[in-house]
Symmetry: C2
Subunit: 341 residues, 2 copies
DNA sequence: GCCTTTTATGGTAGCGCTGTCATTATTCGT
DNA sequence: ACGAATAATGACAGCGCTACCATAAAAGGC
């Protein structure tokens, strides 16, 4: 005697077979209606759709994915969500995926390549159609999986390096370099630098290097820098500036790795009675809304986060197959002159 | 003649059968090693693990989920990621899930119950073990799915209502009420209110109602309010305060629906030469880092976002089955006196 | 030493869906 | 009007894994 069907499942979850039976068609026809694929007579479609509605049928994507060896998932691996940069990227991705069948699945790596590797592998277990990551630097294991998988890969934010497939972003090294040139041209000479302790934020490091290069070219160098013993935050910026100035009161400009910390720097100046720009220039990175809403808008660099996310997702949707050659898309950046440097 | 196996897949993706063959065991034994389930001899486990490593085997979770009628996914549906509140909640969830087999899958609803319903259904297609949503208000269809599904449900942020399963959060109505009481006690009498256009931010509405109730009790009422024709942002707060004051110069305190907008209000005061607190009180909501980093820390209410996320995920992990009775966990809130009201 | 329990392993049958191929009904071109 | 293309539908196997049961060997109890 054959074992009773359906022993493992809750008895009342409808399957495609139930829908097909109710609509009086075969399973495969019902499947075609669900996927809007292949020629279906209008009358048939209607009957199937009403059966779906009546049963509150939800397709089982695990079964679908297994049968078709593919999914409509797009894995997105981001370093952090506390840093507003990445939610902006995500919004871009979402915007591009709305009205498509694709669905983003988000993981957070905490800037740790090993966590990235672990999450990547657990995402690959769901057979995603595409993978989006931040940066070009991954563990060797992750890189191998990215290169060998049957999915397209986009690496965001950074374009200084060798992408797996598609890179969308800007040159952070160049942004750092332009920052230095801009500030030198505006007359600043005595540079300080504030850092945070996220050593794996490769973009921040690249900007730092670019800045140093431009100073070197002008015969200058950083007078001082301080690494805040914690992740980036406004308070980190405030406290770091206080420390920098206590050791080197002669600084005339301080560069921060991002706008959040730069805002903290401005708050320190307000508190200590330092006139921003005249006495001390403050320069950030990202071009956040809040910095531009201040009475004296923050001098910074606008990174085009939303555009990066949107462009990457659109590019990934262009073809189902892995492209034969690598693509690098430079979304560029803009110096916002602002009023603080 | 039987059709060749594996025609649909790329030929070189290893399966559990390949692992088992290489290790010289049966598929089910290899499966047990992968899942760390059931008794396995150490020598066998080692052989299987080394076969897995050699082949770079990645389990196919679609197949696993289909066979076991379950997954280790935890669906998380949040209204927005631009609002820093939700990344904080997410961090809490992540913290609770680290070192467990569970994996969060994040969707963004843009504060739209219909989008929430759509994303919920597409997530349910993956048979999640649990679902986390924001708020207690969902479409009837969504509510029905939540109630009938074979997964646990946590509704976050808000506890003023009837949860499906578990609610974790605070009473926003009470927070609004306490805000009013606090400000009245501090001597403020002429209240203004700034709003944004996200009508479905039920929490903001509940705070608004609580505030009005406390004013009514004290024989007061809002003198004016302005709805900014756009989503919440610092610039929205700045511009809204300008409009409120131009119409009603006699206001002595303005309450904002969140810290971002309140910061914008402070920036307007700085720009317009208004002395915050003496001439005009400013009150926010959330207790963000950046507001507390200002020279005069923002007066606001601390909502415990991280704790909410962490508590909810922990609670969901407690049992595999849907709890027989509803649970409401009040994480509370704290008034931060600050220096702006 | 014999029976029971525990440990370790395997055979088999699906889970729910879709790719492939086949079949029939309809439309079209000339 | 007749073969050829097209539209609409179905039968069936199998995707990769795990639940279920069975079996065999080792360990324990008295």
């Amino acid at each position: 005697m054959p074992r009773k069907r359906n022993t493992r499942r809750s008895p009342d979850v409808p399957t495609l077979a139930d829908v097909a039976r109710l609509a009086g068609v075969s399973e495969i026809t019902a499947s075609r209606v669900v996927r809007a694929q292949g020629p279906i007579a209008d009358s048939t479609r209607l009957r199937v759709l009403s059966a779906i509605a009546e049963l509150s049928y939800i397709p089982n994507r695990a079964a679908g994915s297994l049968a078709s060896a593919g999914s409509t998932l797009m894995s997105v691996l981001l370093p952090s969500l506390s840093n507003i940069v990445f939610p902006d990227v995500l919004r871009g991705i979402h915007t591009a995926l709305t009205q498509t069948a694709f669905q983003p699945v988000i993981g957070v790596t905490d800037y740790d390549p090993l966590i990235e590797e672990r999450i990547l592998i657990s995402f690959l277990a769901w057979q995603p159609a595409a993978v989006i990551l931040a940066g070009l630097h991954h563990t060797p294991v992750a890189r191998r999986h990215l290169e060998q998988g049957r999915f397209r890969v986009a690496e965001l934010m950074d374009i200084d390096g060798d992408p797996v497939d598609i890179a969308v972003g800007m040159s952070h090294r160049q942004a750092g370099y332009e920052t230095g040139r801009h500030l030198i041209q505006r007359g600043y000479r005595r540079f300080g630098y504030a850092r945070h302790n996220i050593l794996t934020d490769d973009r921040a490091s690249a900007r730092y290097e670019g800045l140093c290069a431009s100073l070197r070219e002008a015969g200058l160098s950083l007078i001082t820098e301080h690494v805040y013993p914690g992740p980036s935050s406004t308070i980190a910026g405030r406290d770091t500036l206080a420390i920098l100035l206590s050791g080197h009161p002669g600084l005339d400009v301080v560069i921060f790795p991002n706008d959040d910390m730069a805002m903290g720097g401005i708050f320190h100046c307000m508190h200590a009675g330092i006139t921003v720009r005249e006495q001390l220039g403050i320069f950030g990175f990202n071009g956040l809304d809040i910095g531009q809403a201040m009475p004296m808008p923050l001098s910074t660099i606008l990174s085009k986060r939303f555009l990066i996310g949107k462009t990457a997702a659109e590019k990934l949707l262009e073809s189902r197959e892995r492209p034969p050659e690598k693509t690098i898309i430079n979304t560029g950046f803009e110096i916002i002159e602002g009023a603080t440097a």
